[in-house]
């Protein structure tokens, strides 16, 4: 249902030579919800793409519940780790939502009635039951988000990684997002610039900068450290006062 994520000494450089990760060590216990914060270019997305083997590190390793992320395990790793991308359009590539949600489980070998059930369940979990026959390019921003999440949930992952899940959502959309994510039991990693979201959803946060983890602790503590935030180009929204905001 939920898995432990262990990242050890991860290093990675892009083909053009640019070094994106300079030794990341991170352990996330099963069922934990951790926010990944940091300035642009810190390596957050690059890290996420290592968790399901899209990128291969130049050094270091990732393990999901003791299963190393390696070529021979990729099929199972990708079942266990679900990535929700920043641009939902990149994730909805089939002609309609139903087929998109079915894509993942179909690749796992699920078919027929089982497949149909998975699709309906996943869509219901995100409150998108009515989206099943809709063409992907005619959805609103919020609907796209929900559909994209459903495509990942349908694989029944143990770990969910979100890349900027609230970036194009309005207030109501954000509320719905929080409501959708809160009851989910799998381990969650949420990459975000939305500090209130991090506070609301994640008891623990990690700050990355220049390819390294520079801070790791309870979200509230990190966000109250003004110097730490400034160092890492993070800023609380204007007028946001930590003492009075509720923590989930």
């Amino acid at each position: 249902m939920s898995a432990r994520v262990v990242v050890t000494g991860l290093e990675f450089a892009y083909p053009d030579g640019r070094i994106a990760l300079r030794g990341v060590d991170l352990t996330i216990e099963a069922g934990e919800r951790v926010a990944v914060l940091g300035p642009n270019g810190a390596g957050k997305t690059t890290l996420a793409l290592h968790l399901n083997g899209i990128h291969e590190p130049s050094s270091g390793a990732v393990a999901i519940d003791d299963m190393p992320v390696k070529d021979e395990n990729l099929a199972e790793i990708r079942r266990r780790v679900g990535l929700v991308f920043q641009d939902s359009n990149d994730q909805l590539f089939m002609p309609n939502v139903g087929e998109d949600v079915a894509f993942g489980p179909a690749n796992l070998g699920i078919s027929g009635l089982d497949l149909e059930q998975r699709v309906t369940q996943a869509l219901q979990a995100v409150g998108g039951g009515d989206l099943i026959a809709r063409p992907s390019h005619h959805l609103s921003g919020g609907e796209r988000r929900r559909a994209a999440l459903a495509t990942v949930l349908a694989m029944e992952p143990d770990v969910l990684v979100f890349d900027e899940p609230s970036s194009d959502l309005d207030g109501a959309g954000r509320r719905e997002l929080v409501a959708t994510l809160a009851p989910l039991e799998m381990t969650q990693l949420i990459i975000t610039h939305d500090l209130p979201l991090a506070l609301e959803l994640c008891p623990r946060s990690v700050i990355m900068r220049q390819g390294r983890v520079v801070a790791d602790g309870p979200t509230r503590e990190l966000l109250m450290d003004a110097d730490l935030l400034a160092e890492n180009r993070l800023e609380l929204p204007f007028g946001f006062r930590l003492e009075t905001s509720p923590e989930r």
């Binding site: 793409l49 399901n52 899209i54 099929a75 990708r78 079942r79 780790v81 679900g82 990535l83 991308f85 641009d87 359009n89 990149d90 994730q91 590539f93 089939m94 002609p95 309609n96 087929e99 079915a102 894509f103 993942g104 179909a106 690749n107 796992l108 063409p135 992907s136 390019h137 495509t151 990942v152 694989m155």
Partner: protein
Amino acid sequence: MGAGHSHALYVHEHSPIHRLAPEAKIVAALGIVVSIAVTPRQAIWAFGLYAILVAGLVTLSRLSLGFVALRLLAIAPFVIFALFIPFIASGETTEVGGVSVSVEGLWGMWNVLAKATLGASVSVVLTATTEIPDIIRGLGVLRVPALFISIATFMVRYLELIVNELGRMRVAMSSRGYDPRWISQARPVASAAGALFVRSYERGERIHAAMLSRGFSGVMPTFGHRDVERREWAAIFVVIACAALTSAFAFLTT
């Protein structure tokens, strides 16, 4: 604006033809158009029959003739060329309204006009009664290679997105006063095209990552489709038979 291809030609209706499976419609369209194309041009009566058939299809699809006529404007350049043929063609001539025109040229003009118009009308009925993803799916059922189908599906899925991006770039350019008239001013247009390609390609790479993340290993999964009922195939067969017989008869009697 350009050729206006991205305007969906689909007309939302609930006609018997709309309800037909796409593979059946594609087969029917091909059957009819091929019959028309092989019909000798002298058999003018045959083309009259085809016209009736096409008119019947248009009515059955709850389309208006005006709509079809409008869509037929796409073949206008070729129609215009056809109209010129009698004047530029060689061979025996005759007088029409005091002007000397080629007899063979007149027949040639008739041939192009009749076949192009009828053929295009059939295409319009097909596209107006079938949504694009369904057309592609129908091709897949008809054994067009799966890769071809997948690539076409992706193309259609992302077409609107890319057209919009291109449109935004043009708006941005024209709002900065750019109004290219000469090819020598084409640099920004071309740069925009290049930038759009890079963006598109990078999106393609991200989509690939998303596909891999959901277990893709190179073969697209296929999802079930509604089987074409017997009576649907029967109807298609009847229609094609009518066209084919007309064509055969025309062939044999000229």
